[in-house]
């Protein structure tokens, strides 16, 4: 299979920015707030087109989250934008009380998540954000895999009533899903069918999983690839029906091994269809400076890591 060979690269954050601009035209209730990272979040087009509906909060993320909650009381649909670290850990209590517990229709949109932020290093490379956000009652957590999917997800969350955490990244990344894909919150997408092992991936790692499936195919292993763009609520039916075929699973995410997709899948399997699980994730460490792909390789998030995890999972059946 050579389907991963030649694919155009585009950043997921650019998909967010394009969709936000489209939403601005489409839905007058959509407003946006940013904490001094308008260019990085690709929110500048929205800010220029809709200056009255764009709120520059400055480097004051806590106030930004609170203002977003207040705007939603007036019926607006606020999208906040900053890096994933500042979107979650820095403002956890504000999100918990003013947004989640208060059931506000706020969309927390977070770029530069994970190791692939690159050179800025561990202060900015949050690997705990999925865990932090999925722990909050009522919070929907979405980590799309490429430009097209991020764009589709941004449109979908505007239609969804309730708080959402939308996580995406900085680097240019293969844009391999169709532009006209149907994006349904909480509905997994089977990217490739197989019968030996289920590789369940989220975010940038879906692409790595597809590359791993090609390598596994050369070794005679048939891997099923599932794109879990919505980590919460989890599409448990899709997981169970895949595991009924394959009998073992690998999870893959650009996140800590604690609290992320791996935990959610393991919990689902333990309750519904016990099976061996191997997790490709960062092993209880902070990241460091480097190029995105170098870092993903060093921290065990590369194609060979997924291949090895699949072999291990199959051997435990």
């Amino acid at each position: 299979m050579t389907q991963t060979a030649t694919v155009e690269k585009k950043a997921t954050r650019a998909g967010f920015g394009e969709a936000l601009l489209e939403l601005g035209h489409k839905n007058p209730m959509v407003v946006a707030l940013c904490a001094d990272l308008t260019g990085s979040l690709k929110m500048d087009a929205f800010a220029k087109a809709f200056p009255d509906r764009f709120f520059q909060a400055g480097i004051a993320e806590a106030n930004m989250i609170g203002m977003a909650a207040g705007l939603s009381i007036g019926g607006k649909i606020p999208f906040t934008g900053t890096f994933a670290n500042f979107s979650t850990g820095r403002v956890y209590d504000q999100i918990r009380q003013s947004v989640a517990y208060s059931d506000k229709n706020v969309k927390i949109c977070a770029s530069h998540a994970g190791l692939s932020l690159g050179e800025d290093g561990a202060t900015h490379q949050i690997l705990e954000d999925i865990g932090l956000m999925k722990m909050l009652p009522g919070m929907t957590v979405i980590n799309p895999c490429d430009f097209n999917q991020t764009k589709a997800a941004t449109h979908a969350i505007a239609e969804h009533r309730g708080p959402v955490y939308l996580r995406f990244g900085r680097p240019d990344w293969p844009n391999f899903t169709p532009a006209d894909q149907k994006f349904e919150i909480g509905k997994a997408i089977c990217m490739r069918e197989g019968h030996d092992v289920s590789i369940i991936a989220t975010g940038h790692m879906v692409w790595i999983a597809l590359k791993a499936a090609e390598e596994l195919a050369m070794q005679g292993v048939s891997a099923e690839i599932i794109d879990i763009h919505t980590i919460k609520p989890l599409d448990e039916d899709a997981i169970v029906s895949s595991l009924q075929k394959t009998g073992c699973a690998v999870t893959a995410e650009e996140h800590s091994i604690h609290g992320g997709l791996g935990d959610s899948i393991a919990q689902c399997l333990a309750r519904k269809i016990p099976a061996p699980v191997e997790m490709v994730a960062v092993n209880d460490q902070f990241g460091e400076s480097g190029k995105p792909l170098e870092l993903m390789s060093k921290y065990g998030l590369d194609t060979p890591d997924v291949v090895a995890a699949a072999i291990r999972a199959m051997s435990r059946k």
């Binding site: 806590a62 609170g66 207040g70 705007l71 007036g74 607006k76 504000q94």
Partner: protein, 281 residues
């Protein structure tokens, strides 16, 4: 305009409610609630344009209030019920299992009058600014009110919000500080002094007013002044000079009653000092 004497009678009933609620729950925050009762009565019964019988979350075309120091929940619940948001009988459920009157205000239980959860301090002013921005977008001329504790001003987020509101001319907002000088661990001056609080708000770009926070006539006058300063390009804050525990002699002049409920004997002594005016719940 209501008779200040009548509003004062409402305040006395609210104080009775507060004492009975925290005694009934054997927990809660009577001190600050007693001190801020007059402000809340003036606001809800005289100043605000609102519709207690037809509460909805958006509150379009109505004035909106955010209690940032959510631990004053007993005072807020009493005033909400005495304003008609819900029957006063429900005050007896305060802090009990299954109640809509949670220890700190929340939206989850659906209590009319509450639009955001508060309790973890420092967040309400930001929310109030957001509501004010939404009103501006909607060309809704109504105002947004927000009460904060003075100890709460030690939270950094308050000053993020203060900076934002002035820089962005959020002038349909009237904040107030319950300036009683006390917090759980002692006096503000001992725990973390605020320095010249009036000057602080002033240099942050706010119009600062001051009121005798336990004087109904002065409260109403100052709130009316505050409204006259809205829509002029600057946000308004009122420093309410209140006394923690006001109305109950042994609860005044100390921080001891910040978060302690009176026992039955203390409750009886307190109620002896507070005439039943509207009828106990």
């Amino acid at each position: 305009m209501s008779d200040p004497n009548y509003l004062q009678q409402v305040s006395t009933q609210v104080r009775r409610d507060i004492i009975r609620m925290v005694n009934g729950a054997a927990s809660g925050h009577p001190g600050g609630s007693l001190g801020a009762a007059d402000y809340l009565v003036a606001l809800f019964m005289e100043i605000m344009d609102h519709d207690p019988k037809n509460f909805d979350m958006d509150g379009k075309g109505q004035d909106i209030f955010v209690l940032s120091n959510g631990h004053l929940s007993a005072a807020l619940y009493s005033v909400l019920s005495r304003s008609g948001y819900f029957p006063s009988e429900e005050l007896g459920t305060f802090r009990k299992m299954g109640t809509r009157l949670q220890g700190h205000p929340c939206t989850e239980k659906g209590l009319p009058g509450i639009r955001v959860a508060t309790g973890s301090l420092g967040q309400g002013l930001s929310v109030a600014i957001g509501v004010a921005l939404a009103k501006k977008l909607d060309k809704d001329p109504k105002k947004v009110f927000c009460l904060m504790g003075d100890g709460e001003l030690q939270e950094g987020q308050v000053w993020e919000a203060a900076m934002y509101a002035a820089a962005n001319k959020v002038d349909n907002l009237i904040a107030a500080v319950d300036y009683n000088g006390k917090q759980i661990d002692g006096s503000l001056d001992d725990v973390m002094p605020l320095g010249d609080l009036k000057a602080k708000w002033d240099v942050f770009g706010w119009k600062v007013l001051e009121a005798k926070g336990n004087d109904m006539e002065d409260l109403i006058k100052t709130l009316r002044d505050a409204i006259s300063y809205t829509d002029k390009g600057i946000p308004v804050v009122i420093l309410l000079h209140t006394e923690m525990g006001f109305g109950v002699d042994f609860m005044m002049g100390t921080h001891k009653w910040h978060g302690v409920a009176p026992n039955d004997e203390e409750t009886a002594r307190a109620l002896d000092q507070l005439e039943e005016t509207l009828g106990d719940y």
